[in-house]
């Protein structure tokens, strides 16, 4: 029995678009949005479990990307950089969501991964997505980042500001809970 291989990184986007967007070419940035927003949205959807929140996170991520683009030096692929930025935004969004005293769930989002989320990823394995969405927050975050997005333990530890040991404990627990939910 062999260990599991990591997911491959996505193909890098046109360097020309990025260069023009850095010069404040909004049309080039829109093109970048068209190319990348579905992956960002998928990440946001799984991290937050709600289509409404995922929309906010996606918008925030691209606005932040526009603001931070001058500091993007091209050392990593643009998609990698954008993805990392989106993770930060999603996590910060979750933290501020928790602080609000009253939360109004959108009607089409009853429970986690509701109708709107289903429409967003029609060909997915709904039972699995639901089981992931139902996880406790910490476990879900780690599972999404490690098993779905392909981040390593140390990267996740840094992103979440927790110890590597905690990342592994959360990950193993998350997997166990999902397996139980799917039985």
């Amino acid at each position: 029995m062999e260990p599991i291989a990591r997911q491959d990184d996505p193909a890098p986007v046109s360097e020309l678009l990025v260069a023009r967007a850095r010069q404040r070419d909004a049309r080039a940035f829109e093109e970048l949005y068209r190319l990348h927003h579905r992956r960002v949205y998928a990440l946001a959807l799984r991290l937050t479990g709600s289509a409404a929140q995922a929309e906010e996170v996606t918008q925030e991520a691209f606005v932040k990307a526009w603001e931070a683009l001058p500091s993007f030096r091209g050392e990593s692929a643009f998609s990698t950089w954008l993805h990392g930025l989106a993770v930060h935004v999603a996590l910060r969004h979750e933290r501020s969501e928790r602080r609000r005293t009253a939360r109004i769930e959108a009607v089409d989002d009853l429970g986690r991964f509701g109708a709107a989320a289903r429409r967003a990823i029609p060909e997915t394995s709904l039972g699995l997505e639901r089981a992931v969405a139902a996880l406790p927050d910490g476990a879900r975050r780690v599972l999404v980042l490690h098993d779905i997005q392909g981040y390593r333990h140390a990267e996740i530890a840094r992103l979440l500001g927790i110890a590597v040991g905690t990342v592994k404990a959360q990950l193993h627990r998350a997997r166990r809970l999902v397996l139980e939910a799917l039985r």
Partner: protein, 219 residues
Amino acid sequence: MSTHPSEEQVNDFLDGVLPPEIAREVERHLEGCTECRAEAGRLRDLVARLGGLPEEATPERDLWPQIASRLAEPARPRRARLVLQMAAALALFAGGILVGRATKEPAAPEALRPAEEVQRTGSEYVAALATLGTARDPAERRQGREAALSALYGAAHELTRLDPEASGILTTVSTARSFEKKDDEEVIEVVVADPIFSGTSGISTASTPRPPKVVRVRF
């Protein structure tokens, strides 16, 4: 491996993060133990399914128009919130309590701009505000608080300087309110009372307390 591997070991084995000798032991055990092999197989299948989930999702509506409108204009509401935060920090700090948000919120780059607009010269308290936001351990936070104390009093000094009628005597900021988007400007109203400072050199006592004064600062 005479006993069954732990849950942690099986997970780590599948993730390829076990030291080689231990990985070999686990592998040997799995080859000989039906129960553990079945469990590890379930785990492996789950992780494979998770990795195979669609990487893209389509939002219900086009999000670009809203993004585009936010690219066009500066984030005014956020600035007002940050200025209010700073003013609130001044108010509470004067009372000896550093408002929690000033230390817990990450120091976003845009946090520096309102402070820069308040002060005319100097960068000490801008830097102190930034440091406050990123301080992690108690000693760093204590240092940050002390730096921020002098820094924030400097900011309060600047606030009163902008009002020509203020004679430059630093006062304790007791309340702050923010008016957002008034005639395309942001106005923050700060009520100052009980002078305890004179100039920037330190604390001095005034002979008679001044009446409360309202200072309006435009951004």
